[in-house]
């Protein structure tokens, strides 16, 4: 059977560039963004509006419209990311443009205000925008810094395998702890009973677990003065500690990679609400 498939097309659809979102297409969107910022800054000083720069001049309206449009487009990333429709789009390209154009908003939005800030809904919108942007900057910094650490810590294990490895150590601990005396076995039981995944928000983010029952249990088996059974339990507890360490580091990196989205997204929603209030009030009080 003759097939119409075209080799070049097949190659193109399969072949993907090995390039990060920050350097996508040789930083195309960084260039665009820098150009926009330069134009805005230069024109800000060249254009002479009466009585002075603010949101209400024709120049301010222009920047305001561009800025609001950009904000809406930037928010749509959340939908693009989840709507896996057909077509030649790439989320990497979207993210790349999102980051660089989002940064350009600092210039566009601020120049739009003409530096006329105060305690009102207009400045609230600006502040929320800055909050979203700052959280975004944090976001790309962790996106750039943490993946390697996440990968190294995994040591080729999936999350499920880490949990299973812990469960395996626990089963051995349970058996090994049988010959121990009451006080020691209580310490071991306390360690086993502690739910590893019920960690507080702070513990998760810092990776510090001051109330870790496994560490406490280890103190019941000081080096030197212990018999064979105790030695076995103590070595198992050490293995448990290191396995816990891996799981906790994993949870920490994941939390750091996600936590900022809990500001970025709600603040985006608040921003859109404030933006609508800002626009409505501007036209209402015209």
């Amino acid at each position: 059977m003759a097939s119409k498939s075209d080799f070049a097309y097949a190659e193109q659809r399969r072949d993907t560039d090995h390039e990060s979102f920050l350097s996508h297409k040789r930083m195309r969107w960084l260039k665009v963004s820098v150009a926009i910022c330069l134009i805005v800054i230069v024109s800000y000083f060249l254009v002479d509006v009466e009585p002075r720069h603010n949101g209400g001049t024709w120049y301010g309206y222009t920047l305001g419209t561009i800025g609001a449009g950009l904000i809406i487009w930037l928010s749509i990333l959340g939908i693009r990311k989840r709507n896996i429709s057909e077509g030649r789009w790439s989320l990497k390209a979207w993210t790349s443009a999102h980051v660089y154009l989002g940064l350009a908003l600092i210039v566009i939005g601020t120049m739009h205000t003409g530096f006329q800030l105060g305690w009102n809904v207009h400045t609230l919108a600006w502040a929320l925008m800055m909050l979203v942007i700052i959280s975004g900057i944090y976001g790309i910094s962790v996106y750039a810094a943490l993946p390697r650490a996440l990968s190294t810590n995994k040591r080729e294990m999936t999350r499920a395998q880490m949990v299973e490895a812990l469960a395996a150590i626990d089963r051995q601990l349970e058996t090994a702890a049988q010959p121990l005396d009451r006080k020691e076995s209580d310490a071991v039981i306390a360690a086993l009973d502690q739910d590893v995944f019920r960690a507080g928000f702070l513990a998760r983010l810092t990776g510090k677990y001051p109330r870790c029952a496994t560490k406490r249990a280890l103190r019941a088996f000081p080096d030197g003065s212990i018999n064979k059974a105790e030695e076995k339990v103590s070595s198992l507890l050490n293995r448990r500690t290191s396995q816990l360490g891996q799981i906790r580091r994993h949870m920490r990196y994941k939390a750091l990679l996600e936590v900022w989205l809990f500001i970025h997204i709600p603040a985006t929603i608040a921003l859109i609400a404030a933006l609508i209030a800002h626009i409505v009030s501007v036209f209402y009080y015209w």
Binding site: S3, A10, F21
Partner: protein, 817 residues
């Protein structure tokens, strides 16, 4: 009981049952003999509740028994009831051990010594065979079993598993999985390594051993089985351990030996060969017929139809047309000339050289798995660089091969009766040239599976295809200007060599002078620098190597070894030199090729001096990737973990583009130097998964993707055969509410694969069919925009690559961020 039956039917699978039911309905004196204590053992052994499929759907069922897609239990119950209603004469618990005598007077011997006399025999024993039995003293004790249906059934026992393959390991893991069962499980392996099992299974076993859940006895043999004990022979002498149950999983013996013992010939020595049969299923031993899976028809519907047909033939109905007649008629309807099915079959068989040896029955079967087409003069049959793994044969007319991609007017003819497209079949690579019809032409396109079966059953076809392949590959590789005459000396001297994975074909420093062409598989080129083997390059199928030493008379400058199990053609160097001498243009080509290879090698070597660590990293990364299946991949998903934030959007996108199930497990899989090979299909050149699929549901698509079509019956063979564990078996989930209704109203489970519970509950609520089918990556074939995993990755971590492009120094040493 009459002293002689008209027909004895051996084996009560769907084939034997249907034969017996028809014999009973026709009032023919008969007996159905079954080894086990129930009917249809193969289906009996399916997983409980399995949804049995009734494919091919366009084939009518011709049987006195009912059969339609449905639950295993329902089907078995129906048959049990109908066999009783038809008053079929069944004998259970009777394993046939020998069949002797002549047509009209056979003696059928059964285990225990009983015999039965019959005029004719229908053998329908399937292909499951008999499990290998233990041969130690005490091997007949009742606590030895050869199968394990439900590992959750056993409690508080000492269980010994014998056998180190996947089946044994999986059984041992199952028995030890739940500590509450409190079993003490030991597994015996004759050797030190578990070489026959999948790496994933071995890893699980080793983990269980470390945790103390399973006692793994290496280099250990069972010596004697006793009540509650087993005596083992270990490296350190004899050991006796407590043992309440023995599960022996040491493989099974295919039924071929028994069948041949009855005087029946097979089509060839190949493992995949079937008995030689006439159109009425009679074997070379007159009076004995073979039907069903043993005859090469593994689908239940085929089996049942043949059961009916064979009884008709025995009763002298020669007019009976096979049930697949309408399917063939539909195939041939598109061809000009208004010939009948039988006439067309004869045209194909007589005109196409490699088919002449086939019996009419084999011809029919081959045709069912093939396509036929007619072309007018100038029509394109396929285009250069099309993916394709099928082979074409010319029944009428002739074609032209465009040998020069830059000039379509340069062509070479291929005449009636010959074949083309065989390179795709043999190497799994894309089409080498465009082919057009030279006149009105009728072709037959043999699917990969059909073609491989043909080569395995017809030795002369195999030889012919090999010769043609070698000749054409040479012509294609060395470009235009050469004629078959030019290369005939090389073709004559060619020798096909099988190379196991990891074996050297060329050793650095040796001074042999052969040159090689890779026909199947791939090679890696290594050079010893400073005491370490350094990876220089990767050679896919269709490349040649070894020319350097031949052309400049030097010693071998690098080692070439098989990345995976491969097939190379060896040519004597002097014949190659003579070819170069006769063809100055070819000589020039070869020298240019050689120079560019030298340059790559020199580049890597030079780097080694100045950037030693970069080269070591490149070399070890390349080896890691080859070890993880890139050597046989055509397209593979890699994840650069220096970019991946673990958002799993790739998996979600996969699920959302494919009926709600992800075909990729991002977390699982091996990682080296932050390069991660997730559990996802590599689209192998020669996919292992295709080997054993009863409905031939696994195919290669137009973009080179290996995919499973809707005829899958959920048998799970492909899942077992894929060495990379990328196939999952799951029912198609119910449809989710739309993205927007999730976003605004929280309806449904949201983007990505829904949880197992949600899928199960919703499907039950909606009363959907829950048949487990095989699913795997199809490279998003037919989806505009290409693979969703890559499109949906926000950071650029997920990339799809072709190995020959990725396994290069520039790609592997590049830094992305």
């Amino acid at each position: 009981m009459p002293d002689k039956y008209r027909v004895a039917i051996v084996g009560s699978g769907p084939a034997g049952l249907s034969a017996a039911a028809h014999a009973a309905a026709q009032g023919l004196s008969h007996i159905l003999i079954e080894k086990t204590d129930h009917l249809s053992d193969t289906i009996f052994k399916y997983q409980k509740g399995k949804h049995v499929m009734a494919t091919p759907s366009n084939l009518v069922l011709r049987s006195d028994l009912d059969f339609d897609a449905g639950k295993r239990e329902f089907i078995l119950d129906t048959w049990d009831r109908q066999i009783e209603e038809h008053k079929v004469n069944v004998r259970l618990n009777a394993e046939v051990t020998a069949i002797t005598g002549e047509t009209g007077n056979f003696t059928i011997e059964m285990k225990g010594g009983d015999t039965i006399q019959a005029e004719a025999v229908v053998m329908a024993i399937g292909t499951q065979g008999n499990p290998n039995k233990l041969r130690t003293p005490g091997a007949d004790m009742p606590h030895i079993q050869y199968q394990l249906d439900d590992p959750g059934e056993y409690f508080d026992e000492h269980i010994t598993v014998v056998g180190s393959g996947d089946a044994g390991i999986e059984n041992a893991l199952g028995l030890a999985a739940d500590p509450k069962q409190n079993n003490t499980v030991s597994i015996l392996n004759r050797r030190a390594e578990f070489a026959r099992a999948k790496a994933a299974n071995v890893a699980l076993l080793e983990e269980a051993e470390r945790d103390g859940r399973i006692n793994v006895c290496r280099e250990t043999n069972p010596l004697e089985v006793r009540e509650k004990e087993i005596v083992l022979e270990t490296r350190d002498g004899q050991v006796t351990i407590p043992c309440d149950r023995i599960i022996a999983r040491t493989g099974s013996q295919p039924p071929r030996g028994f069948v041949e013992g009855c005087g029946i010939e097979f089509t060839s020595e190949e493992r995949s060969a079937f008995p030689k049969l006439t159109p009425s299923f009679e074997t070379t031993k007159n009076g004995i017929h073979v039907i069903g899976a043993l005859a090469g028809y593994p689908l239940i519907k085929h089996c049942m139809n043949q059961g009916y047909d064979v009884i008709e033939f025995l009763m002298g109905n020669d007019e009976l047309k096979p049930a697949d007649e309408p399917i063939l008629a539909e195939k041939f309807a598109a061809l000009p000339g208004n010939r009948s099915v039988d006439e067309w079959l004869e045209v194909f068989r007589n005109n196409i050289v490699i088919l002449r040896e086939l019996s009419p029955l084999q011809m029919r079967e081959l045709m069912l798995d093939s396509d036929v087409a007619a072309f007018d003069e100038g029509d394109v049959i396929f285009v250069r660089n099309d993916p394709g793994s099928s082979m074409f044969a010319i029944a009428e007319g002739s074609v032209l091969v465009e040998v020069n991609p830059d000039d379509p007017s340069v062509t070479v003819p291929i005449g009636e009766g010959s074949i083309f497209g065989e390179v795709g079949l043999i190497s799994g690579r894309r089409r080498g040239s465009t082919i057009r019809a030279a006149e009105t032409t009728v072709t037959m396109e043999l699917s990969r599976n059909a073609a491989l079966k043909l080569l395995a059953t017809a030795p002369s076809a195999n030889r012919a295809v090999n010769r043609i392949t070698i000749e054409r590959q040479l012509l294609q590789m060395f470009g235009s200007g050469l004629t078959p005459d030019d290369v005939s000396e090389l073709v004559e001297a060619a020798e096909l060599v099988q190379v196991p994975a990891g074996k050297n074909v060329i050793d650095e420093g040796a001074d042999d002078k052969d040159i090689f062409v890779i026909q199947q598989g791939s090679m890696i080129v290594e050079k010893n620098i400073g005491g370490n083997p350094i990876f220089l390059s990767y050679l896919p199928a269709g490349s040649y190597f070894g020319e350097m030493a031949v052309i400049d008379g030097s010693k071998r400058t690098a080692t070439v070894k098989a990345a995976i199990k491969s097939e190379v053609v060896r040519f004597p160097g002097d014949a190659f030199m003579r070819l170069l001498d006769r063809n100055p243009k070819l000589r020039e080509r070869a020298l240019t090729d050689m120079a560019s290879r030298r340059k790559v090698n020199a580049f890597v070597e030079e780097r080694k001096e100045s950037f030693s660590s970069a080269v070591d990293m490149y070399s070890s990364t390349a080896k890691f990737l080859v070890d993880n299946g890139l050597g046989e991949a055509t397209d593979v998903l890699l994840i650069d973990e220096s970019l991946c934030v673990g958002c799993d959007n790739c998996e979600k996108a996969c699920a959302d583009s494919h009926e709600g199930l992800s075909r990729l497990d991002r977390e699982a899989g091996r990682t080296y130097a932050h390069l991660h090979v997730p559990t996802s299909c590599r689209h192998c050149e020669h996919p292992h998964c295709m080997a054993d699929c009863p409905p031939n549901a696994i195919k290669r698509g137009p973009d080179g993707e290996v995919f499973i079509d809707e005829t899958c019956i959920g048998c799970g063979n492909c899942q077992r055969n894929c060495p990379y564990g990328v196939i999952r078996m799951d029912p198609k989930p119910p449809k989710k509410p739309s993205l927007l209704s999730w976003l605004f109203f929280g309806a449904g489970p949201g983007p990505g694969e829904a949880s197992y519970d949600w899928r199960k509950k919703t499907a039950e609520k909606k009363g959907l069919e829950q048949a487990k089918l095989a699913i795997k990556c199809d490279m998003c074939a037919g989806i505009d925009g290409g693979p969703a995993c890559v499109r949906a990755c926000p950071t650029g971590a997920a990339i799809r690559v072709a190995p020959e492009k990725f396994l290069t120094f520039t790609k592997l040493a590049e830094d992305v961020d």
